[in-house]
Amino acid sequence: MGDPVVVEGLSRHFGKLVAVSDVSFRVHRGEIFGLLGPNGAGKSTTLRMLCGILDPSGGRATVVGFDVEKEPEQVKQNIGYMTQRFSLYEDLTVEENLHFYAGIYGLGRAARRKRVPEELDRAGLSERRAQISGTLSGGWKQRLALVCATIHQPPLLFLDEPTAGVDPVSRREFWAHIHRIASVGTTVIVTTHYMDEAERCHRLAFIFRGTLLDIGTPAEVIERREIRVCIVSTPNVASAMDLLESHPAVDEVAPFGDRLRLATLGGVDPIALAKEVLDAGPGVADAREIVPNVEDAFVAMVHSEARHGGGR
């Protein structure tokens, strides 16, 4: 069996606006694949094309073996889809929502009777079974929405910013659940602009202004940027920032509490650089190198894009 998602040169315009431009990637079975990018980068548009609810303007994509443009209904039968809005019926109870979606996905009466309590139990929603969904907290709504989207046990699950507006603890639990789902062979594609979430994905695709900038595991993506990061303590944060910002090897300087976070490109030692630049100014009280993260890689990519392809 081939990869569950194969995307080749996918594009989408809305009038003159290019939302997605020539995007290609493959997603392997059982993988958690993240589409990462700022708001309006084209993540949701890409996802909607893959779900068969938006026709591509160019290129093609196959999802579980079906062409999204020619066979959207077969695609829909084989996917689960959950959006940041948790498309629940807020005036139905938890159990009624689940029954409804089970029916929509064609589960028979007997199957529904069996599956619904099982799934409620597994998600820890049994006690809240009779609660009106609109009165649930964000975290519980998210859990219910996920159960609704997976009640038909799809081989492929699309999550469009699934953790927007959900507290950090619930987000962690949610990701633990996503990994459980993936471990039994379900493929998951998730869009996010939370960088900490991006690091929980097996592989990432960075999308910026509709184009794919990079693709790989979080470690690969960070490594390719050749970034080094340090935390600098200095008596005058504002003037230190001004001094560092103009240095060509500096990718980013950002305030970090009462300290500075300095990222350098091309493998340049950030501590040495900080000392060299700041000795003429406020000086360096203390500096310590830390491990770069996905956010650093993403910022570096956006900066580089602004420098080279900034005309767009």
Binding site: F14, R48, C51, G52, I53, L54, D55, P72, E73, K76, Q77, I79, Y81, T83, R85, S87, L88, Y89, E90, Y101, I104, Y105, G106
Partner: protein
């Protein structure tokens, strides 16, 4: 002052950006003007009339000609029995029938009094009085002409006390001319139009507003399953409303149901389906529930004014009548009044049913063409 002007300025910008509101601001006054101007017309003309002429004399044909010359009656056909008058009235071919007795011409010729009969459909009380009065004055005018003629010809006057041609008015169906009997069945149609169109128009707009429509679109459900599933519960609602209005109408306003209740319930499904299809059509146009509601109210107006619910359909000018034929309510009013007031049969309502079924079919085709399982 500045604060107030800021609010006014913002309000104007928002009104201008909302194209629907803008259209309604200027569209509604014009459309209302036209609708009311056309609909409110109480001088009824061209009432469809059948003639049951048992005489076939020059005198009877002359009387019919003079009736038509008033512009008030339009003779649409001839019948051979009272039974056929009933059929013509129940199928709304005619609202008035003139009955000429045998030997009418000969009797009048001989100077003997003879009686014509004018049968009027009482289900629309607004038409009855003028239809009857015009006929009465025609009869008396012809009587005096005949008296003068006779005097000149024979030199002998007719007894002046009685006129030669008497006119006996008869009102069928709702002989007491009670308004409630006319209004209540019509109200069933109006209330069903109002509620069913609005319910369905808002039902899909609500899903769109809350984001659940996207979740449905991404599921394997078919357009047909979604649209039919959406309207089925409201068919039940429609029947409940209808039952309620008819029961209250019968208890409180003493409106009898002359015809078959079973037939009424059977045929009402055509109208309920048509109204729901109109609502679904609006729901494909409206982005928000508010827009859906505005559209429904907008639709209600011509229904009330042009369908014949309030003003006699016969009195409206041709353009208003053409427009009204595409409104499901126009046809349903004839069905429900026909059954409730006149005991009309399935066959007598055939034309209206063809219209209702046709309108429903066209709307459903349009709706399923417009409702694509795509986001744009």
């Amino acid at each position: 002052m500045n604060r107030m002007l800021s609010i006014a300025w913002k309000e104007m910008i928002q009104a201008r950006r909302d194209r629907l509101t803008m259209g309604m601001m200027f569209g509604i006054p014009i459309i209302q003007l036209l609708l009311f101007g056309y609909a409110i017309n109480t001088d009824v003309r061209n009432i469809s009339t059948v003639v049951y002429d048992q005489d076939h004399s020059a005198e009877s044909r002359g009387f019919v000609r003079r009736m038509e010359a008033t512009g008030f009656y339009a003779v649409v056909g001839h019948v051979d029995s009272y039974e056929q008058i009933g059929v013509a009235m129940r199928s709304r071919e005619a609202m008035v029938a003139l009955v000429v007795p045998p030997r009418f011409g000969a009797e009048v010729e001989a100077g003997r009094r003879s009686q014509l009969q004018l049968v009027v459909d009482g289900s629309d009380p607004q038409v009855v009085a003028s239809a009857t009065n015009t006929a009465l004055s025609l009869a008396s005018a012809r009587s005096s002409d005949l008296s003068v003629e006779r005097l000149q010809r024979l030199g002998q006057p007719v007894a002046m006390a009685s006129q030669l041609i008497a006119m006996e008015p008869a009102t069928w169906y709702n002989p007491d001319l009670r308004t409630a009997v006319f209004i209540v069945p019509g109200l069933v149609g109006v209330i069903l139009t109002m509620t069913l169109v609005m319910f369905t128009a808002m039902a899909i707009a609500r899903e769109r507003e809350r984001g659940t429509l996207e979740q449905l679109i991404v599921s394997p459900i078919r357009s047909m399953e979604l649209t039919v599933g959406k309207i089925v519960p409201y068919i039940g609602v429609g029947y409940l409303q209808m039952t309620l209005i008819l029961l209250v109408g019968s208890w409180v306003f003493d409106v009898p149901i002359v015809g078959s209740v079973g037939l009424l319930y059977l045929l009402s499904v055509f109208f309920i389906a048509a109204s729901l299809a109109v609502g679904l059509f609006f729901s494909t146009l409206a982005k928000t529930q508010q827009q859906a509601m505005q559209m429904s109210f907008f639709f209600l107006l011509p229904n009330i004014l042009l369908s014949g619910f309030m003003f006699p359909w016969e009195a409206m000018p041709a353009p208003a009548r053409w427009l009204s034929t595409i409104l499901p309510l126009t046809h349903y009013l004839r069905v429900i009044r026909g059954i409730v007031l006149k005991g009309a049969s399935f066959a007598e309502l055939g034309a209206e049913l063809v219209w209702l079924a046709g309108l429903t079919l066209i709307l459903i085709v349009v709706v399923s063409m417009r409702f694509q399982k795509k986001l744009d």
